[in-house]
C-alpha cells in the first residue's frame, strides 16, 4: 500500500515537470560541474555575451541599468571598467547585440537599434573610437562577426539572403546563401516574418572561411564555406526548424527556444542549446533562462558529444587551449561560471 502512495505522489510531481526537446543523437553526453567566479563589484541583470581576451574578461549585459559592457581582470574578476553607456545621446547605446575582438585587440559592439557597429580601443575609457553605420537596406542586424579588421559578416531581417558582407563603411558588398526553408524564400515583404523566425547567431572562422549559424527559435545549425560559397551542412532534425505564426508583418514563435550562442574552435563547433518549448515558457514551467546543453559538432556538422551543465547559461567563451568554458548564468547573482572539460588542471 505505501508503494501505491509514493507512486501517486510521483505522478503528481511529474505532471509539473516540462520536457526538453532535442532530436540529435550525440554519441556521448558528458556532465560538467561549474565553478562560480565571484564578481562582487558589478550587478549584471541579463549577461548574454562573454569574451576572454588575454587576462581581461568582457561581459555584455542586454538589460543593463547604465552600461552594456564591463571589463574584469581574469581570473581574479577584479572590476576594471564599464563602457557602451545606455542612453539616447549620440555617443550612447540603445542596444547591444554582441561584442567581438579584431586582430588588433580592438573591441567592436553592435547596436542594432542605432544600426551601427562601434569600435573601442583596448583600455579606452573616454568613449568609442569609430562608428560603422550599417547599410540602410539591411533590416535589424542582430549579430555580427569580423571577416578581417574592417569587414563584417551579418544576418538581417530582409529574408532575401542568409548573410551579408559589409565593408568598413557599412555598405553591403555581397550577399550569401538563403534561409534553408523548404521551398525556398522569395524576396518580397512576406519574407520578413520568416527571417524573424529564423533569427540566428553566428560565428566566423577566418582561418577556414567557415561561418556557423544557429537558430534561436528552433534547432537548426547551418555551416557555410564563404570562400567557395558552398553549403557545408544544414543540421536540421525533422520538425525542429523554427515554428511560427504570422501576425501582420510579425512572426510569433510557437516552437522551441533553440540555440543562444555558437563558437567555432580548432576542431569543433560548440552551441548552447535550450530546448524549452514556448508552451512551457508561457505556463511558467521553465522560469530559468538559458540552456543546460552545449552541443558539439565537428566542422562538417556531425554530432560529436553534448555537455550537460549543472545550470542554465545564455552565452559562453570556449577556451580550447586551457579546456575551459566560461558561461553566463543569468539566473544567478554570480553569473560567471567556469566549466573545465576533459582536465581539471586549470582550476
Amino acid at each position: 500500500m505505501p508503494i501505491l502512495g509514493f507512486f501517486m505522489l510521483s505522478m503528481i510531481n511529474s505532471c509539473s515537470k516540462s520536457k526538453n526537446f532535442s532530436d540529435i543523437k550525440f554519441p556521448e553526453t558528458v556532465s560538467l560541474i561549474g565553478e562560480e567566479r565571484a564578481m562582487p563589484d558589478v550587478y549584471l541583470k541579463y549577461p548574454f555575451r562573454v569574451r576572454l581576451n588575454d587576462t581581461s574578461l568582457y561581459v555584455m549585459d542586454i538589460h543593463p541599468a547604465d552600461y552594456y559592457c564591463h571589463e574584469f581582470a581574469y581570473p581574479s574578476m577584479k572590476y576594471k571598467r564599464s563602457f557602451a553607456k545606455r542612453g539616447e545621446a549620440p555617443d550612447e547605446f540603445l542596444d547591444a547585440e554582441n561584442i567581438r575582438f579584431d586582430n588588433q585587440n580592438r573591441l567592436w559592439v553592435l547596436d542594432a537599434n542605432r544600426k551601427k557597429i562601434v569600435r573601442f580601443d583596448e583600455g579606452d575609457t573616454a568613449g568609442s573610437q569609430e562608428d560603422t553605420p550599417l547599410d540602410e537596406n539591411l533590416i535589424r542586424t542582430l549579430d555580427f562577426d569580423l571577416l578581417d579588421d574592417s569587414t563584417f559578416i551579418v544576418p538581417d531581417y530582409t529574408g532575401r539572403h542568409r548573410l551579408t558582407i559589409v565593408d568598413a563603411n557599412g555598405k553591403a558588398t555581397r550577399h550569401l546563401f538563403t534561409i534553408p526553408i523548404i521551398g525556398g524564400v522569395h524576396g518580397d515583404a512576406s519574407t520578413i516574418p520568416i527571417a524573424q523566425a529564423w533569427r540566428s547567431f553566428l560565428d566566423y572562422d577566418a582561418q577556414r572561411g567557415i561561418v556557423a549559424v544557429a537558430t534561436q527559435l528552433g534547432q537548426v545549425l547551418e555551416i557555410y564555406d564563404t570562400q567557395n560559397e558552398r553549403v557545408v551542412n544544414i543540421v536540421k532534425p525533422e520538425g525542429m526548424e523554427p515554428r511560427f505564426v504570422t501576425k501582420g508583418n510579425y512572426s510569433v514563435p510557437t516552437g522551441i527556444m533553440g540555440y543562444s550562442d555558437i563558437h567555432i574552435g580548432e576542431e569543433y563547433i560548440y552551441a548552447i542549446f535550450w530546448g524549452h518549448s514556448f508552451d512551457d515558457i508561457k505556463q511558467q514551467k521553465h522560469t530559468e533562462e538559458g540552456g543546460k546543453y552545449i552541443h558539439v559538432f565537428d566542422l562538417e556538422g556531425n554530432p560529436v558529444r553534448q555537455y550537460l551543465l549543472d545550470r542554465y547559461i545564455t552565452g559562453f567563451h570556449v577556451d580550447e587551449k586551457n579546456k575551459v568554458i566560461i558561461g553566463l548564468d543569468v539566473n544567478s547573482d554570480q553569473p560567471i561560471v567556469a566549466y573545465a572539460y576533459e582536465t581539471t588542471d586549470c582550476f
Partner: protein, 71 residues
Amino acid sequence: MKNCLSLIAIVLATVIGLNVNMKIDDWKTATMAVTLDNIEALASGEDSDTKCFLLGSIDCPHSSVKVMYIQ
C-alpha cells in the same frame, strides 16, 4: 492497525501535496499576471496584435527591450 495508519498517512500526504501544489500555482498565476501587465505595457504595439512578455533574449517587434516570449 499498522496498515490502517499507513493508509491514513499516505492519503493525508497526497491531500497536503495537492493543496500546496494548487496554492503555488495560484501564486504563480497572480504574480505572472502582475508582471505580464507591466512588461506588456512596455512592449506591446498600438497597431499590432502581437504582444511581448517578460525580460528575455528574444527580439520584440515593438520595442528595443528583449523579451521572454511573444504572443
